[in-house]
């Protein structure tokens, strides 16, 4: 364990990168999920088809593959665009951090879409009608009536998606983002203690997922406190 001392700061900054990817992709995934579920619930056949295709594709493809497609695909496309302007351009890529965060957001966004859709359907239609009858606009109804009621219903699944999002962040070490799995990878040849190095990574993830689980439990308690009848 003493060999860890020299690497503590690397692990700390690696963990910070993990948390940053987590935060960025969580926000993106929620936005994608809201848009996707709104499209699925809209009357437009085109919007429904697009949203359905999106969820089918991203729920059926391995996370690693999505990540590789986003990162290398973006590099190839950007390079081609760059070369059409200036032939001397050799290679352009997007920062792996953003490619990773975006890829993970796309994957988790597909799951969020389904969760949000179910939760929106769980909101009493009478409330929505009442809001419309009181003269709230469609947008106001969405923000003040639907969302406050739907997030409580979405919470249990939302928590699970947050956990899988957190665990997906481990993948971005594959495209060279310097997070904790990457730190373990470069620390191993120096310390010759691979088990210790990777075990610490597992422990860090376990701590973070535990915190997320507890936070979701607290949020569920807060969201359901008006339901005294359930006890």
């Amino acid at each position: 364990m003493s060999e860890l001392v020299g690497w503590a700061d690397d692990y700390f900054w690696g963990a910070m990168v993990v948390l940053r990817v987590f935060a960025v992709s969580l926000v993106l995934a929620v936005v994608i999920g809201l848009i996707g579920s709104a499209m699925k619930l809209s009357g437009s056949r085109v919007a429904q088809t697009i949203a359905n295709a999106y969820t089918v594709v991203f729920r059926g493809t391995p996370e690693l593959l999505v990540l590789l497609i986003v990162y290398f695909g973006a590099a190839v496309t950007l390079t081609a665009i760059g070369q059409s302007f200036d032939a001397s351009v050799k290679f352009i890529d997007i920062p792996p951090f953003w490619a990773g965060a975006f890829a993970i957001a796309l994957i988790v966004g597909a799951y969020m879409t389904e969760t949000f859709r179910g939760a929106f359907l769980g909101v009493d239609p009478g409330h929505v009608e009442a809001a419309r009858a009181l003269g709230l606009s469609k947008f106001q109804t969405f923000v003040y009536v639907r969302i406050p009621q739907m997030w409580r219903l979405a919470l249990p699944n939302f928590g699970n998606h947050m956990l899988s999002l957190m665990k997906d962040t481990a993948l971005i070490s594959v495209i060279g983002v310097e997070e904790i799995v990457f730190v373990a990878k470069i620390a191993t040849p120096v310390t010759l203690k691979p088990f210790t190095m990777y075990f610490i990574v597992a422990l860090i993830y376990l701590c973070i997922t535990t915190v997320i689980t507890l936070a979701v439990m607290a949020m569920e308690k807060y969201a359901n406190k008006h339901l005294v009848s359930s006890r």
């Binding site: 690693l64 590789l68 799995v181 597992a202 997922t209």
Partner: protein
């Protein structure tokens, strides 16, 4: 930038070899995972703390860490210890294939045991009371009454888990295995045509996921056939 469809057809034979390994990983580890899950479930519902505690810890650890990290701990980490290298398991743990099988099975075991527990909790209490009133022993009622209903109730979640397992087998490519993703990554490294290769592999994975979903849907329909007479 142009889409080279010829390259896709050229690489199909190589990808099919990779598909074989992917299926091997999937089938072996989901089978071992199921066995582990049943053992864990039995430990969990046994009511004895020295059986419950290890089961709960196992589930907590394997559900709380990424599969990639689990594979790395097993594949890169275990050889650090002298006793692992001298044990009888070393010929297995030396191979990336068996390390992946181990990691994926342990992971599946943790998830599936929770799914089965969820199914068990969904079994109507009244049925079990009726069983004990009829003088059926606890073991018998578990085998003949709880299990069939619990299996039916957990089928949808189990099919989702098998799909996640299919996706998780792609991680085997990170420890040098040439599964479908591994093959795709080597071809892309040679040709640098990410769209053609990765997208065609993605389509194969999607077809697999679709088939799993349909298959389990049919199984579920068959198992629930006593519930409702067919409409019409």
């Amino acid at each position: 930038m142009n889409f080279d469809i010829g390259l896709v057809f050229e690489s199909i034979p190589k990808m099919l070899v990779g598909l074989g390994l992917t299926l091997e990983l999937l089938i072996l580890s989901s089978f071992i995972g199921l066995v582990l899950a049943v053992i864990t479930l039995l430990m969990r519902i046994s009511g004895r703390w020295f059986l419950v505690a290890p089961a709960v810890t196992y589930i907590y650890i394997f559900r709380g860490t990424p599969i990639l990290v689990q594979i790395f701990v097993i594949y890169f980490g275990f050889p650090q210890f002298e006793f692992v290298r001298e044990s009888v398991f070393w010929p297995f743990l030396r191979e990336p294939f068996w390390c992946c099988i181990l990691a994926l099975s342990l992971n599946a075991g943790a998830y599936v045991s929770e799914i089965l527990r969820g199914g068990m909790l969904g079994v109507d209490k009244g049925i079990l009371e009726a069983a004990s009133a009829l003088g059926i022993s606890k073991t018998q009622s578990f085998i003949y009454i709880t299990s069939p209903i619990a299996i039916r109730l957990s089928l949808p979640a189990y099919s989702n888990d098998i799909i996640s397992m299919t996706k998780a087998t792609a991680l085997a490519s990170t420890v040098t295995l040439l599964d479908m993703t591994g093959v795709a990554r080597t071809i892309v490294a040679q040709t640098f045509a990410p769209y053609e290769i990765f997208l065609s592999v993605a389509i194969i994975y999607m077809i697999m996921a679709w088939m799993i979903q349909k298959g389990f849907g049919m199984a579920e329909k068959r198992m629930s056939r006593y519930l409702k007479p067919a409409a019409g």
